[in-house]
Symmetry: C2
Subunit: 112 residues, 2 copies
Amino acid sequence: MITQGCCAPLAAEALTADQAVDLAKAFKALGDPVRLRLLSLITSAEGESCVCDLTAAFDLSGPTISHHLKVLREAGLVTSERRGTWVYYRPRSETLSQLSGLLATPGLASVS
Amino acid sequence: MITQGCCAPLAAEALTADQAVDLAKAFKALGDPVRLRLLSLITSAEGESCVCDLTAAFDLSGPTISHHLKVLREAGLVTSERRGTWVYYRPRSETLSQLSGLLATPGLASVS
DNA sequence: GGCCTATCTAGATAGATGTCGAATCAGTGG
DNA sequence: CCACTGATTCGACATCTATCTAGATAGGCC
């Protein structure tokens, strides 16, 4: 989970080593095509997605999908909730917008 | 390099497998504390950074820094230019803002 | 040309990661 | 209580990655 390096974009000031360790965990979680697509499915669904639907969208075993979801969960990118037999995942928009803000290039118009 | 999945945020629509592969490469490059800090140093510097300064900021060998810079370069996150003895790196803001846009949560106010 | 410095490439190695099958846990319904 | 289904955990294995040392390449300077 990201506890530091809250909001300032990269361009504003350099990260400390500790901030970088935290943030890198989140980006590393995004650095796999399967996980990125899982997050994309979860985020673009209305509110939440069932693991059963997510698993069906890939040509991978259940345990593998479960592993990737765990990585996303531990990176703070999604949360999960069990309702009866099924487990539902939803995005954590705080984390997503935090990462988004970090990569934002405020000087886009003034850089060049 | 990212060639597809140009701009739409994750929440808008799910990624295709191909888009996910492309984008995951960029995020994977960000998924290492050293590389994230390198990018942060490069981006927060005025315009560009010399490899010599970057290497000095870490407790790592030159070749290791060079390797990480190569990963960032191949992910399209930075470009390099040799001027005389030294090599300078600068950020590619197009790529950064593209990734930023992908993670942006347009419905931040309306999600909850 | 020859030497020095800055950077990159090559090869090696220890550790991390993605994937699977098998086993386990959680909940539903007979 | 038992069987069944959905999801996770466990253990194993092949592959990838971060790091190093040693060597190569590029440019400046005497």
